[in-house]
Amino acid sequence: MAGTTTAGADGAAKRQAARPATMAQALNRAMRDAMTEDPDVHVMGEDVGALGGVFRVTDGLTEEFGEQRCTDTPLAEAGILGAAVGMAMYGLRPVVEMQFDAFAYPSFEQLASHVAKMRNRTRGRLPMPITIRVPYGGGIGGVEHHSDSSEAYYMATPGLHVVTPATVGDAYGLLRAAIASDDPVVFMEPKRLYWGKAEWNPDAPEQVPGIGEAVVRRRGTSATLITYGPSVPVCMEAAEAAREDGLDLEVVDLRSLVPFDEATVVESVRRTGRAVVVHESQGFAGPGGEIAARVGERCFHYLEAPVLRVAGFDIPYPPPMLEKHHLPGVDRVLDAVARLQWESDWVEGGR
């Protein structure tokens, strides 16, 4: 997917070296570059114009490309996504911003019954090159309906790609790939990583693997942490901490939930023999179910211990003052790692 990480049309005069950039800035740059390169790319959503989005991810796009390229729509998510379907039918590449995870739900019928199915029902004649950006997850002190992790819904809908970056570089590269994709991509942006910074060169963004490829963020031999999005930094921290216990954990960042990179995951777990799936979404019928089931099936003879899951509780997302009790943190990850039957002392009843 070489074309997806080019730096846009800026002249050499404006070129810069790497400098600290946030994920929000990288996402913004990805849209800017895509819009510059392809006049068919249109950004639309609530408050994406003058305001630049409530997270400022579309900052400056209307100023640069005009109101017809980055458009404040009426406040109606089904209407937004439905209109995007029509625009895609006419050859545009809409990039839709849903303001918060739970506010994508009104568009669920358009998503499940049209966006996901249009290519298939028309035997490929009406592909849906739509990117649906969904800020997701908690940890930002949001009140109810502002912190849902809705990726399980999208994963369970054949026809959609589901992608989620965990790093600044991936944010840029994966969003470019999503916009360039001829298939609909639900692009899940971990809210609490929006302001995380990394060294990054907007004029020569690093090449990153494309949609459908997981990445081993940290090599290890003792056990594999399988994770994505907002839980990647948690797992990296847990892996650091586990070194004190003499454990060398591998961390796999899935990057795409659909397509699912089974090869990378299975290779890792067969090598380490142990796995913990970590995510923020509720555990029951959450993404980890599919992942653990698949690992269990494909790595059966290599497993030294059951595949464990560390996830959000099976509850509606808590109010801000209690969210820390819900979010899977380093301690819970380490607890799960400790239960991976290092000495065949399997404890019944843990999660």
Partner: protein, 399 residues
């Protein structure tokens, strides 16, 4: 139709202008220290529908001038063919050749007028009820019936035909029409979208959101509501308390037009005007065509459970084919020879459909995986291989 309804009299100005309006142009003044003068954002009067459904048949309008003899005869021919098409499709259902058929018998005037109101480059957005509109637009009936036959979900090339797939989830096709029309306008193309929906579909949120987007974006869209009296078994009175469905237009800032949906000439005229208005930058129009569904909802439905035969009979006198034929004969536009010729053509069309639909469709099980994505995922490759192996085993008689 009042003259005030000309395309020049648009409810919303061009998009650019609308967007520069500020909140100060809203109402809210305190008289003692007036803020900038209040005015409504559009004049409501021209957006309201006529007091009665608009009609041309049975009036003294000079139909030979407008729409003219050719159009009258074309409408007649398509209506007769349309009726025959509906009968043929219904018969195919009885023979098990279609999984299901939602007939538009009694609604042919709307179906045909919708197709004829559009130019070559325009787009039609039909619902499951509107296969006839697609056929009248020139599509191959066998391709059009694919969904209802059941060998695939959809049968024609939407881009080549500029007819969107039949939409089953109610009203969901309306925002698509708005988005497409908007996109075409952004690209500088002369394209109007005409989207069809039923009276029941107007209750869905997607209807509301689509009309609002269309009005705010001033998109070149015509919304045709076929009010056929029922949403399956639910009569209009349980669907809405509005004076007419056309009265919804003003709430979006677009004109609402009310027309006798069994008067093919009137529907054609109202839609034609709305299409012209859209084409010339005047924005969207909501048209309510009052008609009646003569058959059950589909062959699977039992209409005797919710309406009387007497009610249906009352509408037989208002049959759109009958009304047009009677009028054209009265005016001397249609003679026996032409009528016979038309009937013969319709028979031939029906025979062609019958013959081709009686052939078993070619089934392509492996297509189940072909276009889920542009490229199969690893999981889909595995699953396709599994099905292929099963099919191979079956072919070898191993199963």
């Amino acid at each position: 139709m009042p003259d005030s309804r000309t395309p020049a009299d648009t409810p919303a100005e061009k998009n650019e202008e609308v967007l520069t309006m500020t909140v100060l142009e809203q109402p809210g003044a305190y008289r003692l220290s007036p803020p900038p003068a209040w005015r409504p954002r559009a004049d409501p009067a021209p957006l309201l529908p006529d007091a009665e459904p608009y009609r041309l048949l049975g009036t003294e309008a000079d139909l030979e001038k407008t729409p003219g003899r050719d159009t009258l005869l074309r409408l007649h021919r398509e209506l007769v063919r349309g009726r025959r098409y509906n009968e043929q499709a219904t018969a195919l259902t009885r023979q098990g050749r279609l999984a299901v058929y939602p007939s538009s018998t009694g609604q042919e005037a709307c179906e045909v007028a919708a197709a004829l109101a559009l130019e070559e480059q325009d787009w039609l957005f039909p619902s499951y009820r509107d296969t006839l509109a697609a056929v009248a637009r020139g599509l191959d009936p066998v391709e059009v019936l694919t969904l209802l036959r059941g060998d695939w979900h959809h049968g024609w090339d939407p881009k080549a035909a500029r007819v969107a797939p039949l939409s089953t989830p109610l009203a969901t096709q309306l925002p698509h029409a708005v988005g497409l029309a908007h996109a075409a306008r952004l690209k500088g193309d002369d394209v109007v979208a005409l989207a069809m929906v039923g009276d029941g579909g107007t209750s869905e949120g997607d209807f509301h959101e689509a009309l609002n987007f269309a009005a705010v974006w001033n998109a070149p869209v015509v919304f045709l509501v076929q009010n056929n009296g029922f949403a399956i078994s639910v009569p209009l009175a349980k669907q809405t308390a509005a004076p007419t469905l056309a009265h919804k237009g003003v709430g979006y800032g677009m004109p609402g037009r009310l027309v006798d949906g069994n008067d093919a000439v009137a529907v054609h005229s109202v839609l034609g005007e709305a299409v012209e208005r859209a084409r010339s930058g005047g924005g969207p129009t909501l048209v309510e065509a009052v008609t009646y569904r003569m058959e059950a909802h589909t062959n699977a439905d039992d209409a005797t459970r919710y309406r009387t035969a007497g009610e249906v009979d009352t509408w037989r006198d208002h049959d759109p084919v009958l009304l047009l034929e009677r009028e054209l004969r009265r005016r001397g536009v249609l003679d026996d020879a032409t009528a016979e010729d038309v009937a013969k053509g319709a028979e031939e069309m029906a025979a062609g459909i019958r013959e081709r639909m009686n052939a078993d469709p070619e089934l392509r099980p492996m297509d189940l995986f072909a276009e889920v994505y542009a490229e199969k995922t690893a999981q889909l490759r595995e699953q396709a291989a599994q099905l292929q192996a099963e099919l191979d085993a079956e072919a070898e008689g191993n199963v």
